[in-house]
């Protein structure tokens, strides 16, 4: 919870005023609470939450004395003015603060010993500091049934609620899902949903973070730990490329909770998390977690220990008939990738290193245009979203865009084949699937006509249309003040590219029989887009797989080396805006597993050419020296909030281009979305049961009818790349002649329909 807004005390327009007898300075117009906080004077608050919106003055906790104004003022809504005289600790102010706390506590159950919030509770803390110290309330307290399930993930204890309205305002003004409301009035006020149904939306968990009492608690975290027997570690979410800064709560070596940070990263997520990022941590332990190493030979697969498996892997690699390939997955860390590159230059000299992702070549000019960070959206008057659907793929982006639209009236324009999750706040420019190029002159005109526009663009859709990507790059460059944010696909795509790792080359080398073995690092090519091509290329090449969970690649790998997940191991991820941020070690993970970086270093040792470092920090330091893309950063530079990498040059990875396959015009356009709600983490999380849904091919009613399919029927879908069988869902708001699928859902294989280098695809839909 970010109780106070950051204040820049070094700004130029400071004004002087008197605070508790001392002459101080703060920027004019800053709210008194924030100025006081920045100046080291605590003014207690409950309802004030600058991230949610303007002050509402409901809780009355922040009463202070301002000379010349009658009575007491709420410091949350009183701006700093030159020469004002403020007293936050005078007898009058103290009496005001005590009064409000005594009244707030009158009906509060004071069940702190059995309250999850106890020990990290603002009501407790502020009562301790500012409260009257003694209760005089002898009447019977207000009673409610407690707790009730506000949703499958959030428990609501109405007795503890102090009606600060933060959760309601979050729902109404930040997520704008319109679901939460205050019901009844006066002392009977209670938080509820309008419909009476569960509060199910994409960002609900944030109301737990903003609740200043124990009224809203996480059901999966309920009664799991006390604040004094946990450790909190700042980390970064690795489920999508936004790179939200998180805090991991650990107890007994297990991640028990993920929450937004008390000190949010305003350049990135501003403290808000999506529900997947908040609750999917339990998926680390779901079915399929690799607890022990596996070695597969003619006699079948056997589980073994890490040392044994490393020996086996060493044999595989040493006996390889040709150079080795190393394939890095979309969330492999910078350290893992850098070590892989070092192996390719040392122990596995000549190894071909690639990443599993979208070729960078067609997007190189676009990526070289002026970059923005998420925080820059706050100042933009015009935001243009070209392709994609951030609500599903990079969820927290949606909140920034909503904030810009609602609070500042910024103009949001979405361009693409369907109305996105932003439909209610955005103006929409329609472009048929795979035909962004048709809208590009319109987009360019809007960019040219806007003062300081921020352009968000979808990696997958623009990579499929290189001409449109070039035109967009030209338009952004032409407006000297325009900036862009990539809506990327891969949690560490930018980090892998910064190391110069291409997406192409490796599969061709495999297919041509030039490679003798393959190491996969958090990569599952047999389930990835173009999986059929990967299967064909892999053939019988022996595979050493560094992986966290069982997947199609580990199922056939010669050696499986079980790795820790991003909730368990150290590393660095580079967000889609180019911000390098540290993932910190959280849970212990299975005894038989090890960090990916450690496994790779060990491989170097086993192969007889160990790298010169033993820790991820040292590996990163070596990488920062070797790779200019990392801008010479150190762990210290990154700190807890990360640091931006230098922008890539216009010819960076320009040669990383896949085969350009013309899609032709027959059949239906295929739109593949990397929906985090449909991915393995969300679908494997018990907490996120509400998001569990079978994979489906979503089409418009007319498209279904033309293919003689009804809602729920099974469709056979075929493309030049492969075939897939999926149930059909008829959905409103989709264009005709297009099929929408989500990538990454376990048990479904729409990835077969795609080419390994992505690009436009047309499919046939049959019953």
């Amino acid at each position: 919870m970010a109780d106070y807004a950051p204040v820049d005390l070094t700004a130029e327009n400071l004004v002087s005023f008197e605070l508790n007898g001392e002459k101080v300075q703060a920027p004019a117009g800053t709210m008194l609470v924030d100025a006081c906080h920045a100046l080291g004077v605590e003014v207690p608050i409950f309802c004030y939450e600058p991230r949610i919106g303007p002050p509402v003055g409901a809780c009355r906790m922040c009463l202070v004395e301002v000379e010349g104004m009658r009575g007491l003022q709420t410091a949350c809504s009183t701006p700093v003015q030159p020469d004002m005289v403020v007293r936050t600790t005078s007898e009058l102010a103290t009496q005001g603060q005590e009064s409000v706390l005594e009244l707030l506590l009158a009906n509060h159950p004071l069940d702190c010993p059995v309250c999850d919030k106890g020990g990290e509770c603002p009501l407790q803390d502020r009562t301790f500091r500012f409260g009257p110290g003694k209760s005089r309330f002898h009447e019977s307290k207000r009673h409610f049934l407690k707790p009730v399930e506000l949703s499958s993930r959030i428990a609501l204890d109405r007795e503890r609620c102090i009606s600060c309205f933060r959760c309601v305002r979050f729902s109404q003004e930040v997520a704008q899902d319109g679901q939460l409301t205050m019901q009844e009035r006066g002392g009977r006020s209670e938080i509820a949903t309008f419909s009476g149904d569960a509060y199910e939306a994409r960002f609900t968990g944030n109301i737990i973070d903003v609740c200043p009492v124990g009224a809203l608690t996480s059901i999966p975290y309920r009664f799991v730990a006390r604040p004094w027997d946990v450790t909190n570690t700042p980390s970064v979410c690795g489920l999508c490329p936004v790179g939200c800064n998180t805090e991991l709560t650990l107890r007994e070596g297990v991640v028990r909770r993920v929450s937004g940070r008390d000190e949010p990263n305003y350049a990135v997520e501003e403290g808000w998390l999506c529900d997947v990022g908040r609750w999917a941590y339990d998926s680390a332990d779901h079915t399929g977690r690799l607890h022990r190493a596996v070695v597969r030979d003619a006699n079948g697969a056997r589980e073994t220990n890490m040392a044994d498996a490393l020996s086996a892997a060493t044999l595989v690699l040493q006996r390889a008939d040709g150079p080795v390939g190393i394939l890095l997955g979309p969330a492999a860390t910078v350290e893992e990738a850098a070590i892989a590159l070092d192996l390719a230059g040392g122990a596995l000299r000549g190894a071909v290193v690639a990443r599993l992702g979208i070729p960078a070549g067609p997007l190189a000019p676009l990526r070289a245009t002026r970059r923005a960070e998420m925080g820059d959206i706050d100042d933009a008057q015009t935001v243009i979203v070209v392709g994609g659907d951030p609500s599903l793929q990079q969820p927290v982006v949606e909140l920034r865009l909503r904030k810009a639209a609602l609070r500042r009236g910024a103009r949001i324009v979405t361009v693409g084949s369907r109305r996105t999750g932003l439909a209610d706040v955005a103006e929409h420019v329609d472009a048929a699937p795979g035909a962004l190029h048709a809208a590009i002159s319109d987009i360019a005109a809007r960019i040219a006509a806007s003062a300081e526009p921020v352009v968000l663009w979808d990696e997958a859709e623009l990579a499929a249309e290189p001409a449109a990507a070039d035109a967009l790059a030209t338009a952004i460059a032409a407006n000297g003040a325009a900036r862009q944010i990539e809506l990327g696909q891969d949690p560490n795509g930018a980090g892998l590219r910064a190391l110069g790792i291409p997406a192409t080359g490796l599969r061709d080398a495999l297919a041509a029989g030039r490679l003798g073995a393959l190491i996969t690092v958090h990569a599952d090519p047999r389930s990835a887009p173009g999986r059929d091509a990967w299967d064909a290329a892999l053939g019988d090449v022996p595979v050493v797989s560094v992986a966290t969970h069982v997947d199609a690649t580990t199922d056939r790998a010669t050696v499986v080396l079980p790795s820790l997940t991003l909730w368990e191991q150290e590393g660095t991820l580079v967000s889609m805006t180019g911000r390098a941020q540290r993932v910190r070690r959280g849970a212990d993970g299975p005894d038989g597993a090890a960090p990916g970086w450690e496994i790779l270093i060990a491989l170097g040792h086993y192969l007889g050419a160990p790298p010169a470092y033993r820790t991820p920090g040292a590996a990163f330091a070596a990488a920062a020296k070797a790779h200019p893309g990392l801008g010479g950063l150190t762990y210290d530079d990154m700190g807890t909030l990360g640091a931006p990498l230098p922008p890539p040059a216009a010819d960076h990875l320009a040669g990383d281009a896949g085969e350009s396959v013309a899609a032709g015009s027959a059949g239906l356009a295929l739109v593949a979305v990397r929906d985090v709600h449909a991915g393995r983490a969300a679908q494997g999380s018990e907490a996120l049961l509400a998001f569990h849904a079978p994979a489906a091919a979503r089409v418009s009613a007319a498209t279904a009818e033309r293919a003689r399919l009804t809602d729920g029927a099974t469709a056979r879908i075929s493309s030049p790349h492969g075939e897939a069988t999926l149930p059909v869902r008829v959905a409103p708001g989709l264009p005709d002649d297009a099929v929408f699928v989500a990538l990454g859902t376990p048990g479904a294989a729409p990835e077969s329909l795609l080419g390994p280098d992505r690009g436009p695809v047309r499919v046939e839909l049959r019953p």
């Binding site: 906790m61 007491l72 009244l103 009158a106 005089r136 009035r185 006066g186």
Partner: protein, 430 residues
């Protein structure tokens, strides 16, 4: 039949003026044509200002001054909102003005709209006033048909129309910013001020919001001139005011009096017919329930803003509630506490929790379960609430009870010692 002979003239007092013809026959709709023909909007605002008319909803803020706060250079649409959410206990003056003289209100709102440059007026009427809402709806229809509302009113360039909007039953919606929230379709809760409605009111646009009685006073002021109105009553409290009198009096009802010319005693004993035989005045809440209570010793106070304030209370809405010596002041205080607890919107903590606490304390006193310390506790509780809240509702809860405890401490001590038995039901006409 209410007695409103002056400003709210029942010129044809025999029947309500609910048809346009009757209202015209009684001299209505002479002010609007006059203003449209002869008076510039800014000059009309000046007329309001010079008349000295003060807001009749309770706060008594000068109406013309309020209108002058609207920004002149705003590009946003401006609105006139008529506060007809008359919910103050003991107050029922607006009810009769709307039921018996709806066109005078419409004419007044139209004049205000012309003066500030608005094209739209809203009457936010208390939900329970179903009859009055129908009367107003019908009057609006008649006025539109006659070209008195709509586009090009009376062939002038003035476009102005009025919408009648019914509240859903919440006292808090009489507070102007809560009213605006409710009118916008939101939960009726007060807004943080500033900004004030004059700057950011309805739909965040400049808004003039006034009580029914205030706006209905405008036609006679325009008709007879600001000087005429200013000359009625004392200098700082000019004009006439309708008092709703209820409680232990023989003729409860609405009485229009010129401010400063009538004492509280005359209001009770002459206009309202006095008390039941053998009874004496125990307590009077002279301006609705939200004002400090007055006692028998205050009866000779003239009814105007300054005099009543000097006596320690407030003229408020003019809803005068009289209790004779058969009533228990502690029970009456509990009844008020219950009202404010029930009507507290719950937005700000001191009001939400304070009114709940106050009611529970008084309930214990009535039940004879309180101790003497509870009286001191209650006194400090007033200080815990007062001056801490977002809007004046809680002040309205504190004022009558705090003053009752001051004025009738002996009664409270007796009740703490013995409780307060349920009184005999009052017989009709007894």
């Amino acid at each position: 039949m209410p007695i409103m002979n002056n400003v709210y003239r029942q010129r044809a007092a025999e029947k309500p003026l609910v048809t346009l013809d009757d209202y015209r026959a009684a001299g209505g709709y002479t002010a609007l044509p006059k203003a449209l023909a002869d008076v510039e909007p800014d000059d009309l605002q000046y007329v309001f200002m010079r008349s000295g008319l003060r807001g009749r909803g309770g706060a008594g803020f000068p109406m013309g001054k309020k209108a002058s706060f609207l920004p002149k250079d705003s590009k946003k649409a401006k609105y006139v909102v008529c506060n007809a959410d008359e919910s103050e206990p003991g107050t029922f003056k607006d009810r009769d003005i709307m039921a018996f003289n709806p066109f005078q209100l419409l004419e007044g709102i139209t004049l205000a709209g012309y003066a500030i440059g608005a094209e739209r007026g809203y009457i936010y009427i208390r939900g329970e006033y179903e009859h009055q809402a129908r009367v107003l709806d019908d009057a609006v229809r008649q006025a539109r048909a006659a070209g008195l509302l709509g586009e090009g009113i009376l062939k002038s360039t003035l476009n102005f129309d009025i919408t009648v909007y019914r509240g859903a039953g919440a006292y808090i919606c009489g507070e102007e910013t809560a009213l605006l929230e409710s009118l916008e379709g939101k939960r009726g809760q007060p807004r943080l001020k500033p900004p004030f409605p004059a700057v950011a009111g309805l739909y965040q646009s400049p808004t003039l919001i006034n009580n029914v009685e205030t706006l209905a006073a405008l036609p006679p002021i325009v008709e007879n001139g600001a000087d005429w109105y200013a000359a009625l009553g004392p200098e700082k409290s000019p004009g006439s005011k309708v008092f709703s009198i209820s409680g232990h009096v023989m003729r409860p009802g609405n009485y229009e009096i010129v401010l400063g010319e009538t004492t509280l005693r005359e209001l009770i004993f002459v206009h309202a017919g006095g008390l039941r035989p053998g009874r004496r005045v125990k307590a009077v809440w002279v301006g609705g329930s939200s004002v400090p209570v007055l006692g028998e010793g205050h009866l000779d106070t003239p009814l105007d803003y300054e005099s009543i304030q000097a006596a320690g209370s407030a003229l408020g809405s003019g809803g005068c509630i009289v209790m004779d010596d058969s009533g228990c002041i502690v029970r009456a205080s509990l009844r008020l506490a219950t009202f404010y607890r029930h009507e507290s919107c719950g937005k700000c903590s001191p009001c939400r929790e304070g009114t709940t606490w106050l009611e529970k304390l008084l309930m214990r006193m009535i039940a004879g379960e309180a101790r003497m310390e509870d009286l001191e506790m209650m006194e400090t509780l007033f200080g815990r609430i007062s001056g801490k809240t977002l809007c004046p509702l809680a002040e309205g809860a504190v004022a009558p009870i705090k003053s009752a405890l001051n004025m009738f401490r002996d009664d409270f001590v007796r009740v703490v010692e013995n409780g307060s038995p349920r009184p005999e039901p009052m017989m009709a006409g007894a």
